[in-house]
């Protein structure tokens, strides 16, 4: 009985997702096709004014090359600006705690991280980032990096839907519409709901509160110059200190929290991210945040189906995603409920609660962990580093599969479509037919671009992790010994190369090695696939439509959905099984033996 009660919220989530995906997808289709929606009377004039201010002709269509160039230029300008903002943080306003500027390596890593929709954080929010940085810097990137991913996905859908043209849309229009009509209104409502539950939203300085019971702690003693004192044996000299107050951080959290989930960004205002009670105060906020993470990526499958003129095509992809989500959640929930060996040896009961919050419990934590790594969100409400070995392999595995289980906003759909192209091609080889998908012949160029999309992140993860293993300073960053240490490094590069942003956070990732190689991984993992997808969109748009015949593989039916699932799992297993065997699988075996 208790297990079923734990699981009710997951069933409610799935049901709600299935219900909401249709209206959400339909709404997004209207937005991107410029059809009137409920919001048009309000936002339409602002949109037109914005184009005029920026010198954009909204009716001008772009080739894929120009679309890609606009995207890259925009991201470049964004990244350089954020980099400068982080370096000069101490000179900018809204900095009541007088935070210094970021060191350049960390500023570079953070700028790349937020531009690429990764939101990997090698800094601690409440200790390093001013309100100005969080709001004018990071929040803005949460919007536009999400809108960029969505725009690329829409361009690819147009490639499938259009015939004999070189035009795949206008990047500025797609980016603007995604932000103004979809991300902003939903974020505004979500942010206010979050505040009602207890998420803070203010610009006060951090509050110093006297503790009800002052605490005595042992602390290493240092001399007046701040150097640690050591005794004759070289051990640090300890002193007892009484802590009388707690310094409670404040800030405009809710406005960032809403878009952090909705745009599958995931960069927390605080170090503890969505585990922090000020970011995620109640079980209900937890549920809503999970829903926000999944809403747009799930809805885009319907948008896709509607735009290519057959909603069942979108439903097939949605089905694949849902299947993988339910399966991975089941494994993670089971692994964490079973817990570690503590129960039998020490008389401890209740599964694995290390790194989890009471208000969410195991069910609410497992649901969040799956949602955040199935998509490219990367916000966490539980510490993934402290999951059981098999439990921890679930988020890691979901990221390594390429974040196609709903995936990042836009990036999830376009990566899934690349997998669909490959599935069509492989099945075409097996049954001896020319592969076609949605009436478009799949040829050499499409295969190249799909392979680039799918393999870039995987190759990056394995090569970078390999380099880390032979670099002593990178190995020294591990927080846990043995196989778990390898999992930490593998997870770090998986997360960065797939633009997720969550971490096995014990790993000290603020060293030069991880900031620089990590930045490179994030850049490769974002722009190689995005540009490849736009190239594929361009080439598809130019093709003529081939009407389905008897020999065409129907891609909107259950057999294809199962086939696609299999292809995804095979590609993932072939690429990553050796690495996973040395990390989480070995750790599981050592724990149970």
């Amino acid at each position: 009985m208790p297990v079923y009660a734990d699981l009710i919220q997951s069933f409610v989530l799935l049901a709600l997702l299935v219900v909401l995906v249709r209206p959400m997808g339909g709404f997004m289709k209207k937005v991107y096709q410029g059809e009137p929606t409920l919001l048009t009377p309000l936002i339409g004039p602002c949109e037109r004014l914005l184009y005029r201010l920026c010198g954009v002709d909204p009716d001008e269509e772009m080739t894929w090359q120009r679309y890609a160039r606009s995207m890259v230029l925009f991201n470049l300008v964004l990244g350089v600006t954020l980099f400068a903002m982080l370096l000069l943080q101490h000179l900018l306003p809204l900095n009541p705690q007088r935070m210094p500027g970021f060191p350049w390596q960390l500023a570079f890593n953070t700028a790349v991280s937020f531009v690429t929709n990764t939101n990997w954080q090698a800094y601690s929010g409440e200790q390093a980032a001013s309100y100005f940085t969080q709001m004018v810097g990071l929040t803005v990137h949460n919007f536009v990096s999400a809108a960029t991913g969505m725009a690329v996905a829409i361009a690819l859908i147009r490639g499938f839907a259009r015939r004999k043209t070189t035009a795949i849309g206008n990047f500025w229009v797609d980016m603007t519409r995604g932000t103004l009509y979809i991300l902003l209104p939903f974020s505004l409502i979500a942010a206010l709901f979050l505040v009602s539950q207890g998420v803070i939203q203010n610009f006060s300085a951090y509050r110093n509160v006297p503790l009800v019971q002052p605490a005595s702690i042992e602390k290493p003693k240092s001399d007046e110059n701040g150097n640690l004192l050591r005794d004759a044996a070289g051990r640090p000299v300890m002193e007892t200190v009484t802590v009388k107050d707690a310094l409670i951080p404040m800030g405009p959290v809710a406005s960032q929290e809403a878009i952090k989930e909705l745009g599958t960004n995931g960069g927390g205002f605080f170090n503890a991210n969505s585990a922090h009670p000020f970011e995620n105060p109640t079980p209900l906020t937890n549920f809503v945040e999970i829903l926000l993470i999944l809403l747009i990526p799930a809805g885009l499958t319907v948008t896709f189906g509607l735009m290519v003129g057959n909603i069942a095509q979108g439903r097939a992809l949605f089905g694949v995603m849902l299947l993988l989500l339910v399966f991975t959640f089941g494994v993670l929930f089971w692994a964490e409920t079973a817990g570690t060996s503590l129960a039998s040896t020490l008389g401890v009961q209740g599964g694995n609660m290390e790194g989890k919050e009471i208000r969410f419990g195991i069910s609410g934590s497992a649901l969040f962990s799956v949602a955040t790594t199935a998509t490219s969100c990367g916000a966490v409400n539980a510490m993934h580093d402290s999951l059981t070995p098999l439990g921890g392999m679930i988020p890691l595995g979901l990221i390594l599969l390429g974040e196609i289980v709903f995936g990042g906003v836009g990036s999830g759909l376009y990566t899934m479509l690349a997998f669909a192209v490959i599935a069509v091609f492989v099945s075409g080889l097996m049954i001896g037919r020319t592969p076609e998908y949605l009436g478009k012949k799949i040829e050499v160029r499409e295969m190249w671009m799909s392979m680039l999309t799918i393999l870039t992140a995987g190759v990056t993860v394995l090569v970078m992790s390999g380099i880390a293993m032979i670099t002593p300073s990178a190995v020294a960053s591990m927080a846990n010994p043995g196989a778990h240490g390898l999992s930490e490094v593998l997870y770090a590069f998986a997360s960065m190369a797939n633009n997720n942003g969550s971490a096995f956070a014990g790993l000290n990732a603020s060293t030069g090695f991880y900031t620089i190689l990590g930045s490179l991984s994030m850049l490769l993992g974002r722009y190689v696939p995005a540009i490849a997808i736009l190239a594929m969109a361009g080439s598809l748009a130019e093709k003529k439509y081939v009407p389905p015949s008897l020999g065409t593989l129907p891609t909107d039916k259950v057999p294809f959905a199962l086939w696609l699932t299999l292809v995804i799992l095979i590609v993932g297993a072939l690429t990553f099984f050796p690495a996973l065997a040395l990390g989480p699988i070995v750790e599981h075996l050592t724990m149970t033996m």
């Binding site: 010198g55 009602s196 951080p249 020490l346 919050e357 208000r359 724990m591």
Partner: protein, 189 residues
Amino acid sequence: MKDLKPAILMLIVFTVICGGIYPAVVTGIAQAVFPHQARGSFIAGANGREIGSALIGQPFSDPKYLWPRPSATPDSAYNPAGSGGSNAGPTNPGYLQTVADRVKSLRSAGISGTIPAEMVQASASGLDPHISPAAALMQVPRIAKARNLSEEVLQRIVAAHTENRQFGIFGESRVNVLAVNGVLDKLTP
């Protein structure tokens, strides 16, 4: 390079909209409609003095108080200036020793029977304001003795501060440690 101009202008416009207007609107409405929550859900204890935020846990070790979960925040437990978990892996020998030590110290404080996992495992934020009802009830005899109160009174206080699953389905039942301790101090300072 004619696409560079819209890139720069778009950045400026969206910085104003998403980084200025949007957070300002959220702040304005939040401060007007939900001022208590927007400012951090601070609560008052005995003699009306502010004792902290209901959402941010505090360290308690005195036998007369309800004890919270272990916390792995830097410098000191429940240090809100540095939220975070232990990030200890499940097979880390040092971590397993820490948990065993916590079990031992709970046992020496008079706790018998099975121990709820959260009382020997640190939370994700290091600031978890809650413990489970079972973890609260097992501490009742100790607090009763330290404060010279009947166990029934304490059980009633714990029950009154137990929040059930939200709408019966979301999350877990929980007891707010700071809120209970605030009430205890009002009762017997």
